[in-house]
Amino acid sequence: MRSAPLPTAEQMPIASTDSEQEIMLQFENASLFYGAFRAVKDLNLPIKARSITAIIGPSGCGKSTLLRSINRMNDRVSGFRVAGRLMFDGENIYDTSIDSVELRRRIGMVFQKPNPFPQSIYSNVAFGPQLYERMPKKQLDDLVEASLRAAALWDDVKDKLHQSALGLSGGQQQRLCIARAIATQPEMLLMDEPCSALDPISTLKIEELMLELKRNYTIVIVTHNMQQASRASDTAVMMTMDDDRSGYVVEVSATEQLFTNPQNPITEAYVTGRFG
């Protein structure tokens, strides 16, 4: 249980500016299976710390499967298993002794459709922290405020913290879900097409927010929106699938390079809109 003093939005640690970026997570010869079906194969993919990695590719190529394997959300799907290793903090997270509940506390997730609980805005943000520790009300208040500020939602909701979260607009709800995920102070944030249900203005707000958040968090985002991937990511991962419907990584590059000078013809066809 971590009980370090809670940082406010302004005090949250600033990323080191080393050019040698630290690796937060690493797929090592990993394949992801549903029963006998190999959904994603031969993954060797490092995820850089405090940067945004976008995963793109046509529907059905295993992007979401890959994303959901990182916080072991797929454990709930019967028949799901992983071959190879997925290294996080020096451990293979699929090792039998790893506690998936504690892992999810350190790797937060934002879903495709905003899914706030039908409770007050405050309770939504306090949900995670309250699972781990009893903290004095003042401390919890501060954490809720810091999380909402970090998600750029504080000014919208500070006067109605105790009203239902379902009264918020879709974009606000999604930012609330981000605040809720941040409140558990994770190291990583996984985002599964977080803007697909939002209008363009809300989408831009979320993208601006992601660029703010990458100072402190490692973000992996799955997106179908090419503009979004090119605007709001540092590294892009192009995936596609084989004839046996098994997904695999085609190309991993700095985002700018992947979009302007793709090395693989499949990537080029996809990012120019001729395929997928």
Binding site: S78, V101, F111
Partner: protein, 323 residues
């Protein structure tokens, strides 16, 4: 499709008259008829409900007075009050719900959240279905054998409450399970992704949204507890001992209001000339109790939903929407 075929189809186009259409007259007629029939069925339902209320109240209200509601009757005098029976009915309601709700909701949580499709779960489902179609008097016979004789509880409120629990469990489980299953999967995912354990997820993310459904199950169960006669005649008895009136002892014999009506109407009480009017009064009181139970529950759930959903203007339509 060739260009010829497209032209061919376009050539067959007919223009329907937008005003007073003559084409498809039959379809329009059936449509109108269907609207009338469905509305009439719904209206009939309301009429029946109000007729029941009206007739029962007209017959029963004259018998109801303050004394009628607050004192006990005797077998030999006119103007028998029903206060002890009201007490037994309410006691039975509370005791049986206290046993039924945790058991039923527990089983429902298991079926909805833990159970994987297996022979065990299909066996549980089958037993639930089968139990719910067993006539209530059969439960009475069973309760008499098990609770009265085997456990030696005798004719008692406890025996009756346990028998009614068996009778009501299938309903409780089924409705609660439905309520739990209709909680969107996205709430479970949200809680799990925040590092909640399965139980924390159920307790904090799933059950709060299932409460309105569980309350509905309790109301239906409660209505049956207040209204059942056959199983209670066989397990709780038809008399209240004059020295055990208003007793909270669960092993005391008792007579609920519904059973009291049955005794007055069917068995008859020799020498009591106004048995019929007492029975009518009791029936009216029973009806009012059930109505109050329903109204109370409806108020509770609508307040709860308002709190969960936020402002009162929140769209209700989205409530049942799954994931």
């Amino acid at each position: 499709m060739s260009a010829d075929a497209r032209d061919d189809i376009a050539a067959r186009r007919t223009r329907a008259a937008l005003r007073n259409p003559t084409a498809r007259r039959r379809a329009h007629l059936v449509n109108l008829l269907a609207t009338i029939v469905m509305s009439a069925a719904a209206l009939l339902l309301v009429v029946v409900l109000f007729a029941v209320i009206f007739i029962l109240l007209r017959a029963g209200l004259p018998a109801i007075s303050w004394t009628f509601l607050t004192t006990g009757g005797t077998f030999f005098e006119e103007g028998g009050g029903i206060a002890p029976q009201i007490f037994v009915s309410l006691y039975m309601l509370v005791l049986s719900l206290l046993i039924t709700t945790p058991l039923g909701v527990g089983a429902a949580i298991y079926l909805a959240e833990y159970a994987k499709p297996s022979r065990l779960t299909s066996a549980i489902r089958f037993s639930t279905e089968a139990l719910s179609s067993v006539p209530s008097v059969v439960f009475g016979v069973f309760g008499a054998v098990v609770f009265l004789s085997y456990f030696q509880f005798g004719f008692s409120i406890l025996s009756g409450a346990l028998t009614l629990t068996l009778l009501n469990l299938p309903l409780m489980v089924r409705i609660s399970e439905d309520a739990i299953r209709s909680v969107p999967a996205s709430y479970r995912e949200a809680s799990l992704a925040l590092g909640g354990t399965q139980w924390e997820t159920i307790r904090k993310a799933v059950l709060p949204s299932a409460v309105p459904g569980i309350v509905t199950a309790m109301v239906l169960t409660g209505g049956r507890i207040i209204g059942e006669t056959a199983p209670l005649i066989l397990t709780t008895g038809t008399t209240i001992s004059p020295n055990a009136q208003y007793s909270l002892n669960p092993l005391a014999t008792g007579e609920t209001l519904a059973v009291h009506i049955w005794v007055l109407k069917i068995v008859g009480v020799p020498g009591l000339t106004d048995a019929n009017s007492v029975a009518n009064g009791a029936a009216a009181v029973l009806l009012i109790m059930v109505l109050l139970l329903n109204i109370g529950a409806a108020l509770f759930t609508s307040r709860l939903e308002r709190r969960l959903r936020g402002t009162s203007g929140a769209p209700r339509a989205s409530r049942r929407k799954k994931e």
